[in-house]
Symmetry: C2
Subunit: 366 residues, 2 copies
Amino acid sequence: MKEIYDIAVVPGDGIGPEVSKAAVRVLTEALGSTAVLRFAEYPAGAELFQRTGDSFPAATFEACRSADAILHGAAGLPGVVHPDGTEAGLDFTLGLRSKLDLYANVRPIKLWPGVTSPLRGREVGDIDYVIVRENSEGLYAARGSGVFLRGEVAMDPLVQTRKGIERIVRFAFELARTRGGAPADGRRRVTCCDKANVLRSYALFREIFSEVARGYPDVEAEYALVDAMTLHLVRQPSHYDVIVTENMFGDIISDLGAATVGGMGMAPSAELGDGNGFFQASHGSAPDISGKGIANPYGTVLAGAMMLDWLGRRHGDRRLLDAARRIELAVHDALAQRNALSGDIGGTMGSADITGILCANLAPAA
Amino acid sequence: MKEIYDIAVVPGDGIGPEVSKAAVRVLTEALGSTAVLRFAEYPAGAELFQRTGDSFPAATFEACRSADAILHGAAGLPGVVHPDGTEAGLDFTLGLRSKLDLYANVRPIKLWPGVTSPLRGREVGDIDYVIVRENSEGLYAARGSGVFLRGEVAMDPLVQTRKGIERIVRFAFELARTRGGAPADGRRRVTCCDKANVLRSYALFREIFSEVARGYPDVEAEYALVDAMTLHLVRQPSHYDVIVTENMFGDIISDLGAATVGGMGMAPSAELGDGNGFFQASHGSAPDISGKGIANPYGTVLAGAMMLDWLGRRHGDRRLLDAARRIELAVHDALAQRNALSGDIGGTMGSADITGILCANLAPAA
Ligand SMILES: CC(C)[C@H](C(=O)O)[C@@H](O)C(=O)O
Ligand SMILES: CC(C)[C@H](C(=O)O)[C@@H](O)C(=O)O
């Protein structure tokens, strides 16, 4: 346990500054003072790139590396691209992932009360699982490398390693043992999502998954091909507990999962390495609505709660664990009782009002 | 126009023989005689592999290559795998794709009357788009190649070429001009689904898409990242008309699309090259229900109708075009008026009864 935790806040582009400000306010309120978390802001992103030619300054990286945790708003602006056509605004997120080896991307998919699922008949309690996305290799390993010949042929290698697969699968099984939610039938389970029937790299993923699974006889292990997985997430989401998958597949199915619980605005994301933790909402920078005060702050607030939970476990700090739990309760009450819904989830309330309700809802520290 | 068309039928594994039989019966009935289509059956698949060690005999390939079209049931049995862990039952489909250069995989996603979408509030007319999956390169190009070192590292190259991208994008725009259905707003549109913000091969796909699109000013061209695409297909499916995408992404989003219209049992698939056409339902061999007479025949019947439509256009044969149209009307009536629903789409009717209703429904040839 530390007396003070240093949090590097990177507001970023578009609605990033609005939602990160909301989260900082709720986190501060939950801890009852500004004395436990010390927030400091650092620049990165597409707008910075446009202004300075540098999307991710060395000083920002250094601050992130040495902080106890990193909280991000969002990054990216349309059309701000590198010569090879990839987006400059993504350098921060993708750079942090690789430089800090944030190999576990944890994306809880949960239907909150008051939010209507686009899936017929799905109610609160029916959708509550976690996607564990491998975040350090897979198809993303190709970014910035690969072969590109005269605009005639492009090749991006999908790379999967024993080390990378082993640690992410182990992470998923440990999470299944400890996480709060449970699938409808109450059984702990980890689903391996791959395309082992077609590609050897995915067959390797599946093989190592099976090896690791044998060390967790208390947790059910099962398999789903990625194409079938999309079907299952639409037709029987209540079956799922923890799903583990390769980087690109995780990118895809986590957006699908988010779609079933109200969209990207309700989807927090934690990217964890052995030494660092990086937290943000799954949504992008939504420049079309930035500055209007209507951005949905829940994703970033929930990412903030994940940050407190992660820090609390890591440092054995009950103050943080308690604050995380109270933020989740405040979200629950705001949605279930106060009808605090932004436009993207069927309401009309602005960010500041939602944030105010969250702060008012926070039960006093135990 | 030919007098007789040779159709190579490959029943395959599991429910494959049942559903292909149903389709052959409906096709024959629609043409009013056995004199227009000449069906001949050829073996391939996992069960054959178990028995003979050969999943895709040379004679079957030769028959497929020289036929006017190929109709497939389904293939694959769990656990019947090659030494590298990939499935033997898939050799037929994947082998045909590459040997006959079937580069365009056309997957209509349509909500039929009488079938309940798992999406809240979606009714007939709300979901009617086509996914055009590039079927000859992309991540699937790696099958059987790639690098595999001591079970420590596996690498599968994702390869995209100018030639491959150009022809599939052109195919998609031509389809948008000619296909029957239309999105809710009535505008013809092709959506390019990629991950151009992260990988150069997808940036190349997008770049070539934009080039080709300039040749079709009457068709709207737009872009969606694959992760966001999953969200859109759940939240605003009525927006879509034709979606074109790389092989692996097409595999994934076409199952998602199918999920929104009643599942794989309602999803036909056509795989087209410049010289050959290969038709099947998108579903697998479902060995758990094979031989019980309860398999859903609609997917294969609709694939059969796509076959007639393709042959009819190719050979300028109105008999075939007319039969294709009447099969679609028969499906419509069976679902809308006769409640002919199999178990997977919420009913209790067996395959034979549904097939009988389809045959009875077939309006007489014009
Ligand atoms: C912004 C983008 C680089 C990122 C990704 O592709 O990983 C995003 O989609 C995500 O899911 O975190
Ligand atoms: C069976 C399998 C090889 C195939 C694929 O992955 O392409 C299937 O999922 C499909 O969509 O046609």
